[in-house]
Amino acid sequence: MLGFVIAVPGVDWYIKKYHSLQEQQLLLENHRLTRQWNKTQQQLQLLSTQLDSLNWKDDHHYRALLDLPPLPAEMREAGVGGSKRADEGNENIPLISGSFELLNKLNHKLTVALQSFEQIEEATHKKNQMLATRPAIQPINNRDLTTLHLTFGTRLHPIFNSYMDHKGLDLSARFGTPVYSTADGRVSMAYHSGSYGNVVFIDHGFGFETRYAHLQKFAVKAGNFVKRGEVIGYVGNTGISVAPHLHYEVYFQDKAVNPIHFFQRDLKPSEYQKIIQSPISKP
């Protein structure tokens, strides 16, 4: 009897102070779960920081390099409008609702980032194409070159003996010296003309066209796609010409420009060999 008198208030006091055994067990479990959820949230935050750093690079490096405007911040941070959430009805547990909110925000940002990267990939692809189609090398190897006549502009014509506008550069070389395409493009014309002789026109797109005249023979046909460094013909003396040479013209937006600007004259011979031996495939 006396035992009860002591035990009952004891139990009551114990439960008030330290919770019942069941509660204790549940609390233990709760702590374990909470720890896991906290870890989950940390993980989410880590992912979020990683994504933010990617987004920063996207905005400040890639978009700058590709000449695209940075994505407005409100577009990146835009709210999650009315999407169905997996945690519906559990807002009373902040750990769950908070984590899901974080996750939703992250997912949304990720979607925006993925779309943005798609745009960047497309722009990169286009840019690489642009780079590949820009005339950038000499059409004749320096090793084979006898003289480079820097004669862009008005000069005395050797046959007509009068001052005439000369729209290209003359590169003297022996008969049969290979002539290389200076950039990727499509052969738009390859035919025999009275003045040009055997001539190849390459359309590079982006407003660029190159012409290779007085060829001995062709190595390509109209409609062919060529890579930079591919042989398109051989040096000859056809058309209005007094000696074997290549007449090289660069047109930008239908206007002849001085091709000397489109040579990389500081290119080392070994580098040039590398380019013409394996015409660059697109990266």
Partner: protein
């Protein structure tokens, strides 16, 4: 008090007090009550579920239930992020021929001792060397303090040194390619690059890196060559050149002060992307601008800055 009948004296005599006689019932009481306590406690938890327990139970249930959901969702998200990171690497490779973060990692690995077994020895020797260096530095400083005097000519020389950044730098990653051999973006061959290419978005302001006089302003619409160029003479043989510019805001012959906006970043000439090509010429010989730019950089940043400049990547022109 307990008494006991003593037959010899025919008296009730008080027993001598014994501790055990008291402790026994108390112990029994304690034992019984504690047994009861535990039984009750067990019974309580077995049959009575408190409100608090109910709440906890529900919470635990939810926590456990959604744990799996969120874990798998996070796995999915991190997979997607991983894809994005791979794409990022690929784009870096395509745009700049290299990863952004490599030099710092290289620098770190060089500094770290390879073998940790003789760390103490290493530390001791480092300490010794540091002391020696400190002594030497003190002596050198004393020497310079007594011999070095900055006169007015010296001040103008220092003021005319192009030590500032020509564009606003948000991160060192903005250095696309430094001075030296780089890969041409058009034909991918290596060639000598005489300046630093800063990645900057179109229309970012370009600032004069030191006071001086604009000696050349050249505009060029041809998508080849250096495009729009500004050259500034700072005196003492120093000139700086800013190429591939967009809009220009100075005229030839104009005096400019340090930090003055002279132009805006563009994509003129044979550039592969909007950027600023910055050159420093000392008596018309191009020098490495990385060795001159040092403003707003502490020693750590400066080391990083030099490392960034050594990366061999695509140049942008």
């Amino acid at each position: 008090m307990r008494y006991r009948f003593n037959p010899t004296t025919c008296r009730y005599e008080p027993l001598p007090f014994r501790f055990t006689s008291v402790i026994k019932p108390v112990l029994i009481l304690l034992l019984v009550s504690s047994a009861l306590f535990f039984t009750l406690l067990l019974l309580h938890s077995a049959y009575i579920t408190t409100d608090k327990a109910l709440v906890l139970k529900r919470e635990n249930q939810l926590l456990a239930q959604y744990q799996n959901t969120i874990t798998s969702a996070i796995r999915e998200t991190s997979n997607e992020l991983h894809t994005l990171q791979k794409k990022d690497q690929e784009i870096q490779r395509q745009l700049l021929a290299a990863s952004f973060n490599s030099p710092a990692a290289d620098a770190g690995s060089k500094l770290a001792p390879t073998d940790t077994s003789d760390t103490n020895l290493l530390l001791a020797s480092a300490w010794h060397r540091a002391n020696l260096l400190m002594m030497r530095a003190r002596n050198t400083n004393r020497y310079f303090a007594s011999t070095f005097q900055l006169d007015n000519a010296g001040k103008t020389l220092l003021g005319g040194l192009p030590t500032a950044f020509p564009v606003e730098i948000k991160s060192m990653e903005q250095i696309a390619s430094g001075f030296g051999f780089h890969i041409n973006p058009f034909h991918k061959g290596a060639y000598q690059h005489n300046g630093i290419d800063f990645i900057a978005s179109r229309n970012a302001p370009v600032m004069a890196t030191a006071a001086g006089k604009v000696t050349q302003v050249r505009k060029n619409n041809l998508p080849a060559g250096e495009g729009n160029v500004i050259e500034i003479d700072h005196g003492n043989g120093f000139k700086t050149r800013y190429a591939y510019l967009g809009e220009l805001s100075v005229k030839s012959g104009q005096r400019v002060s340090k930090g003055q906006v002279i132009a805006y970043v563009g994509i003129s000439g044979g550039s592969a992307a909007p950027h600023l090509h910055y050159e420093i010429l000392n008596y018309n010989v191009p020098v490495d601008p990385a060795r001159y730019i040092m403003e707003d950089l502490n020693s750590t940043d400066y080391a990083f800055w030099l490392a960034m400049n050594k990366r061999k990547r695509y140049s942008l022109d």
